[in-house]
């Protein structure tokens, strides 16, 4: 009986520790934590809808722009997605259906990103040596004066 007081104190201490642990876990650990693994399960669903889809792909563009799309699919640029040159569809047709005119990039830089002859490109890919193209250096000249981007010929 002389140890009774000690036992009581330790039982209280253990009970307090347990209460703190249980309460702490309840407060600090998110609700869906551990649902699928060691992470907040609800985040998977959140990630699926984290932002609207911006790039819709060339097929979506063809819904309204059939002519250009057919022309492009028949030419050398058939694998060049519309959105590379014309910016993402999500910036052109907003979620609520309003249509914003997209900026059309007619710059030399746009064409040069793919076709300027620089170290690194595969040899079989069509590249332009700017110093020797047509009559001397062409840097800065607008490629579109001679080439049709929807159906380019060399």
């Amino acid at each position: 009986m002389e140890h009774g007081k000690h036992v009581f104190r330790i039982v209280i201490l253990v009970a307090v520790i347990l209460a703190v642990v249980v309460l702490g876990r309840g407060l600090l650990i998110p609700k869906t934590y551990g649902l699928y693994g060691r992470f907040r399960g609800a985040n998977v669903g959140e990630q699926m809808n984290i932002r609207p889809v911006l790039h819709a792909g060339a097929a979506a563009c063809a819904d309204c722009h059939g002519d250009q799309s057919t022309k492009r699919s028949a030419g050398a640029h058939k694998n060049v997605s519309c959105e590379i040159c014309h910016a993402p569809l999500g910036a052109h047709v907003k979620a609520d259906g309003t249509v914003v005119k997209p900026p059309i990039d007619r710059s030399f830089t746009l064409c040069a990103r793919c076709h300027r002859k620089v170290a690194g490109r595969p040899a079989r890919f069509p590249q332009v040596d700017l110093d020797q193209h047509v009559n001397g250096p062409v840097e800065g000249k607008v490629c579109l004066q001679c080439h049709d981007p929807h159906s380019p010929k060399p």
């Binding site: 140890h3 000690h6 036992v7 330790i10 201490l13 253990v14 520790i17 347990l18 642990v21 249980v22 876990r25 998110p30 869906t32 934590y33 551990g34 649902l35 699928y36 693994g37 060691r38 992470f39 907040r40 399960g41 609800a42 985040n43 998977v44 669903g45 959140e46 990630q47 699926m48 809808n49 984290i50 932002r51 609207p52 889809v53 911006l54 790039h55 792909g57 640029h77 694998n79 060049v80 997605s81 959105e83 590379i84 910016a87 993402p88 910036a91 830089t109 040069a112 990103r113 793919c114 300027r116 002859k117 620089v118 170290a119 690194g120 490109r121 595969p122 890919f125």
Partner: protein
């Protein structure tokens, strides 16, 4: 007297130590029980995902495939990724590296992640080959980045994507250091870890990641290892594929064909 004193002291010490061990055991049991309960529910992961619609992550296992001989270094992928995922300026979820290699030396550059294409380059050695290598998060199966996360903010989904829960992330940056591929960064506005998600908001809707959607040469491909006849699965299954830094045993799910010895 002295005997009793020693005896009493000894039994008290034993008593206290025994009781404390018991108490410790009780706490461990309770915590362990709670942990077991939570891991027990993770076994029932076939349950539908919250907010996931009709997408079932048990039916997919995504993989990424890069053919380095096809990349022309145009940077369309980097620009698409930036726009699609609102990636802050100066940071990249995907980027392109250019390797200019000779017998004696090699040169690697990635000006602005390759976003604006690549300018001509002068190297001080005889270059014998040059090529581009697109880089992205490898979405490793045994990823070090999720292992070091102290708060469970970084995880790998059942369909194979490594994601970051920005609400749980405390921005400690351990994962940024743990990633051997340099795929993660601390977002300058949210101060949480950020990385490629394989466009999880797109792939769960049946679309390809933005970088794959815009790639004009199919240097970047994305596929499902659980789907019979999938082009990426066919290559991974039957062709000779390589991975980056295989010696680290991270089991990357981003596969490469025609890699050079210079690429890390």
């Amino acid at each position: 007297m002295s005997d009793c004193h020693d005896g009493c002291n000894g039994s008290r010490r034993e008593f206290l130590s025994g009781t404390l061990k018991l108490a410790g055991g009780a706490v461990v049991t309770v915590i362990g029980g709670a942990a077991l309960a939570s891991s027990g529910s993770s076994a029932g992961a076939g349950a539908p995902l919250p907010g996931g619609g009709d997408y079932d992550w048990n039916e997919h296992l995504w993989a990424y495939l890069v053919d380095t001989t096809k990349c022309i270094g145009c940077g369309s992928c980097v620009r698409a990724c930036k726009a699609e995922n609102d990636v802050p300026e100066g940071f990249f979820r995907t980027w392109i590296e250019r390797y200019v290699v000779g017998m004696d030396d090699s040169h690697v550059d990635s000006p602005n992640g390759g976003m604006d294409g690549f300018p001509p380059v002068q190297v001080g050695f005889v270059a014998t080959k040059s090529f581009f290598v697109p880089k992205i998060c490898n979405h490793c199966r045994a990823t070090p980045c999720t292992q070091v996360c102290p708060v469970g903010a970084s995880y790998r989904t059942k369909d194979g994507a490594v994601l970051v829960d920005a609400d749980s992330c405390i921005g400690c940056g351990y994962c940024v250091q743990a990633c051997p591929y340099g795929s993660r960064f601390i977002h300058p506005a949210t101060h949480t870890a950020s990385k490629c998600t394989w466009c999880y908001h797109r792939i769960t809707k049946g679309l390809k990641p933005a970088c794959v959607t815009v790639c004009p040469t199919q240097a970047r491909q994305f596929g499902d290892l659980k789907k019979e006849g999938d082009p990426v699965r066919n290559v991974v299954e039957h062709d000779r594929v390589q991975i980056l830094q295989g010696h680290l045993l991270t089991e990357p799910q981003c596969y490469y064909t025609h890699l050079d010895k210079e690429v890390r």
